[in-house]
Structures are given as structure tokens and as C-alpha cells.
């Protein structure tokens, strides 16, 4: 029989879900059979959730000012809000109509030779519609000029994103195939959506840029009302399939923030994650997304409600997951 003291030392680790499975099992078994420890365990859980009510404080703005003032002049000249030098809209339109023919390209790497563009009347775009290029085959520029269909399985590497700023409706995705390519376009352009979907679903699983890709998609589409469902579906696939728990956490959290376009498929992926994901933080993000969906009276189904009900009462589930599941249920029931 393991002693009560060492079991109690494990309790905080049980609360943060950081015990290895064997010791977790052992501790749970002990708690269930030891009346002293069962009382102790419930007091631990209560304390832990009381601690959760401590609010996060905002850092007074003067602290940053003081910091930047202290490190200036080393910093000040450079500390301007980051903004890519953005091409005026006419430039993008001109690009759509003109540049690609020669196979020249711009953007992307600093090393790439720049092609000077001369302003072209916007009407030219209408007169001379840009041909479609497939990025599977050629270097392509504006999203408007590439086909929404990505052919084959291009081996894309070195993916970079530029300017998800709301003040400029152009975004860019750069990557290497045999050369470095930058595709520019609006976040709503179908070609851009497909490209992002492809990046999210196919980029090397080991690459740290997967996680950055999700960050970037999130900040880009935060400013776009009703993002294309293909984006949320791609995130749902990441949530289902990615081996990296950090990436799955981000995917679930991003789905929560973008859920104005939640499809049945994305909802099911969240329900699936809540049911089966081994990581409690992923389950927590999933249940938060579902709770938000429930609050907004969105697209629910019996399996979702059933899963929330089970989770709310599942004794060995993480306490926050249970609380969130219960919250979600309470916002459904009045209907």
C-alpha cells in the first residue's frame, strides 16, 4: 500500500495532468480507496479552482514607455510598428495583368531580383484578364492569376507569410518549390484560401512553421467576416491528425476564434477532440469552442450535446473541462 503522503504529493501533478499514466492510475486508485485521501483530493480540487479566480492584471502602459525609453537610442529608431511596405492596390492589379508573362517574380526573398512595375490603368485588368497559372508548375504572382486548383502534390518548403494587417487587404504567402514564390491576394480569394489550406494540411509535420501557419491564419482571418469554410475545415484536419499537441491546441483555439463559419465537419472534429484527444489542454480548447458555439445558438447536433453531458459528469476528467462542458450545457438547455 503506497503511503498517503506520497499520494498527496502527487495531487498537484494530478491537477496539472502532468503525472505519467502509471502513477496517475496508482494515485487515482489510492484516492478511491482511502477515505482520508478522498477528502484531501476534493479539498485540493476546490483550492485549485479558487486559485483560478485570481484575475490577470493589465500591465500599465507606462512600463513599456519606460522600458523603450531606457533602451533608446539603441532601439527607438527601429521600434516602429512593423508593417510591410505594402504595394498600392493599382500595383497588385497591374501585377495581375502584366508581370507574369515574362516569368519574372517579385516579393518573397530579399535576394530575388525585383521587377519594376509601372502603373497600369485598372481597366486593363478587365480588358486583358489574367491567365490562370498553377503553382504546381510555375512561378506565379497574384492570387487572382493562379488557379484555385492545386495540381499534384507540390513539395513546398520555407513557407513565409506577410502582412496579416487589417489596414491593407493584401496578404502574401511565399514558399520554395524549385524557386521562391510569392502569391498575393485577398484572404477571401479562393486561390489564397486553397493555398492556405494546402499549407495547413501538408506542411512538414516536424516543421515549427506549422504552428506559425496557424497563428498567421488566425490573425489574418480574425479581420475577415465569415472566413471561407475551407479554412476551418483545414484547421479541423490539423486538429484531427497532427501529432504535435501544441499544434492541436492552437488549431482548436483558432477554431474557437473563427467559428462564425463552423461547418458540421469542424464541429464534429471538436467533438471528437473533446472525446478522444489524450491531451487535456486540447480537450479544454475544444470544449471552449463548443461552449461558444452553444452560447451563440449555432449549429449543434445530438452527439455534441451527448458528449458535453458525458464530459460534465466524467469523474476522472480534468476539472476545467468538466466545468466548461457544464457551462455549455446550461447555455443550451433554456432553448
Amino acid at each position: 500500500m503506497p503511503d498517503c503522503d506520497s499520494m498527496r504529493e502527487n495531487m498537484p501533478l494530478l491537477l496539472t495532468e502532468s503525472l505519467d499514466p502509471a502513477r496517475r492510475e496508482l494515485t487515482h486508485q489510492h484516492i478511491e480507496t482511502c477515505p482520508m485521501c478522498v477528502a484531501e483530493w476534493s479539498a485540493y480540487k476546490e483550492t485549485w479552482s479558487i486559485l483560478d479566480t485570481l484575475p490577470e492584471l493589465d500591465v500599465p502602459a507606462r512600463v513599456k514607455q519606460r522600458f523603450l525609453a531606457e533602451v533608446s537610442p539603441a532601439v527607438t529608431p527601429n521600434v516602429v510598428p512593423f508593417r510591410r511596405r505594402s504595394a498600392p492596390r493599382w500595383l497588385a492589379q497591374a501585377a495581375a495583368a502584366v508581370i507574369i508573362a515574362g516569368g519574372a517574380f517579385y516579393g518573397g526573398h530579399r535576394m530575388t531580383p525585383r521587377v519594376e512595375l509601372t502603373p497600369t490603368p485598372a481597366t486593363l485588368v478587365n480588358v486583358q484578364p489574367a491567365p490562370f497559372y498553377s503553382i504546381a508548375e510555375s512561378r506565379v504572382l497574384p492570387a487572382a492569376s493562379i488557379s484555385p486548383q492545386i495540381e499534384g502534390r507540390p513539395d513546398i518548403q520555407n513557407v513565409q507569410f506577410t502582412d496579416a494587417s487589417p489596414s491593407n487587404d493584401q496578404i502574401g504567402v511565399s514558399f520554395d518549390i524549385t524557386s521562391h514564390v510569392t502569391v498575393t491576394g485577398r484572404p477571401t480569394d479562393k486561390s489564397m484560401v486553397r493555398l492556405l489550406r494546402y499549407v495547413l494540411e501538408n506542411e512538414d509535420k516536424q516543421s515549427p512553421s506549422r504552428s506559425r501557419a496557424i497563428d498567421w491564419v488566425r490573425s489574418t482571418y480574425a479581420h475577415v467576416g465569415n472566413p471561407d469554410p475551407e479554412i476551418t475545415e483545414a484547421l479541423a484536419n490539423v486538429l484531427r491528425n497532427d501529432d504535435n499537441q501544441g499544434v492541436r491546441i492552437k488549431a482548436a483555439d483558432t477554431l474557437r476564434s473563427l467559428q462564425s463559419t463552423m461547418t458540421d465537419g469542424t464541429r464534429d472534429a471538436l467533438v471528437e477532440a473533446l472525446k478522444n484527444d489524450p491531451n487535456p489542454a486540447v480537450r479544454l480548447k475544444a470544449v471552449e469552442a463548443l461552449a461558444k458555439l452553444a452560447r451563440s445558438g449555432g449549429n449543434m447536433d445530438p452527439d455534441m450535446v451527448d458528449t458535453l453531458r458525458k464530459k460534465a459528469s466524467q469523474g476522472d476528467e480534468n476539472v476545467y473541462v468538466r466545468v466548461k462542458a457544464a457551462e455549455a450545457l446550461s447555455s443550451i438547455q433554456p432553448k
Partner: protein
């Protein structure tokens, strides 16, 4: 700059360009400030800590190893600063207790509910002062910053086993203070150092 990873930003700083200072500050200042505030229970000191931690980060960027997590390194600097502050404070005459910052009431809270929440905050903050600095550091990093015991061990310069004991003891004290629980019996009482 927002799209660069911590490591990428730090390598720019290491190359002598402080342009990422603002971005790194934006990423971590809230965590640093909240940790320092809860640790020291003093808003002025927490502001100083936050500012100086980031200055130190720039000055000593060369000591940051690309393999490490920036958060762990920043918390090491912060924890050092805070321990130092407490040591110096012990030598000074005991100042009065800092007044808790009043948070604006979120719109959905009734005045009663808001008052309740503020009382909760004061109760927790008070309970935290019952802990030894080591225990407080461990529980703040574990409970509020979500760091693993391995990371906390690195920050606190002790073994993972020591972190485990510190968090456990901290929880025993907090449990007693916050739930009025005496069920732990003798173990609970002897746990207070």
C-alpha cells in the same frame, strides 16, 4: 515581426539589433508583470521588475541559448530579480502593505458580485503571502504560468523533487487558508514550515 518565432527575434537581438524589443515585450510583459505582482504583492515593484527584466534580456541576450525556451529564461531573470528585491526589502524597515489594484468591474457583474470577486482576490493574495518565497514562486509558476516542474526547477535552481515538495507544501497552506480545511490532520499542520 509578429510572424517571427521567439528564437528568431532573439537571434536578431543577439546580432546587436534591438528592433524586436517591442515585440518581445508585447509577448511576455503580461506574464512577467503578473508573476512579479503576485510574488511581491507590490505594484510598483512589479512595474520595476517588468521593465528591468526586459532591459536585462537585451543586455544579456548573448547568454540566451537558442535551444532554450525564451519564457523559461525570462522567468529565471524575473525570479532572480524578485528574490533579490525581497532580500533587500528585508533589510529595509517593513513598509506598509501595498494596496491591491482595483480592477474595473466587468460589465456583466453586479456590484455585489464584483465586490465578492474583489474579496476573493484579496483572500487569495493574502493566502499567497503565507507561503515561503520558494513555495510562492513554485505555485505561481505552476498554477498561473502553466510551467512544468522541469522548467520551474531550471528557473528556481533546484531539483524537480524540490519543486514537487514546494508545490505540495504550498497547496497544503493554501488549502487550509482558502477552504478552511483541517481535514489533512497532522500532515497538514506539519507541512507548514
Amino acid at each position: 515581426m509578429k510572424h517571427l518565432s521567439d528564437q528568431e527575434l532573439m537571434s536578431i537581438v543577439q546580432a546587436g539589433d534591438f528592433a524586436p524589443a517591442s515585440e518581445i515585450y508585447d509577448r511576455y510583459s503580461s506574464r512577467i508583470y503578473n508573476f512579479a505582482y503576485r510574488f511581491l504583492k507590490n505594484s510598483e515593484a512589479a512595474e520595476d521588475a517588468t521593465q528591468e527584466v526586459f532591459v536585462k534580456m537585451l543586455k544579456h541576450a548573448g547568454q540566451f541559448h537558442g535551444g532554450a525556451k525564451l519564457s523559461t529564461w525570462l522567468f529565471s531573470i524575473t525570479a532572480n530579480w524578485c528574490r533579490d528585491y525581497l532580500r533587500k526589502a528585508e533589510n529595509r524597515s517593513k513598509d506598509g502593505e501595498d494596496v491591491l489594484i482595483t480592477l474595473p468591474a466587468p460589465a456583466e457583474l453586479s456590484p455585489e458580485r464584483h465586490l465578492e470577486r474583489r474579496e476573493d482576490e484579496q483572500r487569495i493574495q493574502k493566502a499567497l503571502t503565507l507561503l515561503s518565497p520558494d513555495q510562492r514562486e513554485a505555485i505561481l509558476l505552476s498554477r498561473y504560468q502553466g510551467l512544468s516542474y522541469a522548467e520551474i526547477a531550471q528557473i528556481s535552481g533546484c531539483s524537480e523533487g524540490a519543486v514537487k515538495t514546494r508545490v505540495f507544501r504550498a497547496m497544503e497552506v493554501l488549502k487550509k487558508a482558502l477552504t478552511g480545511d483541517a481535514r489533512g490532520g497532522d500532515r497538514c499542520l506539519t507541512a507548514i514550515p
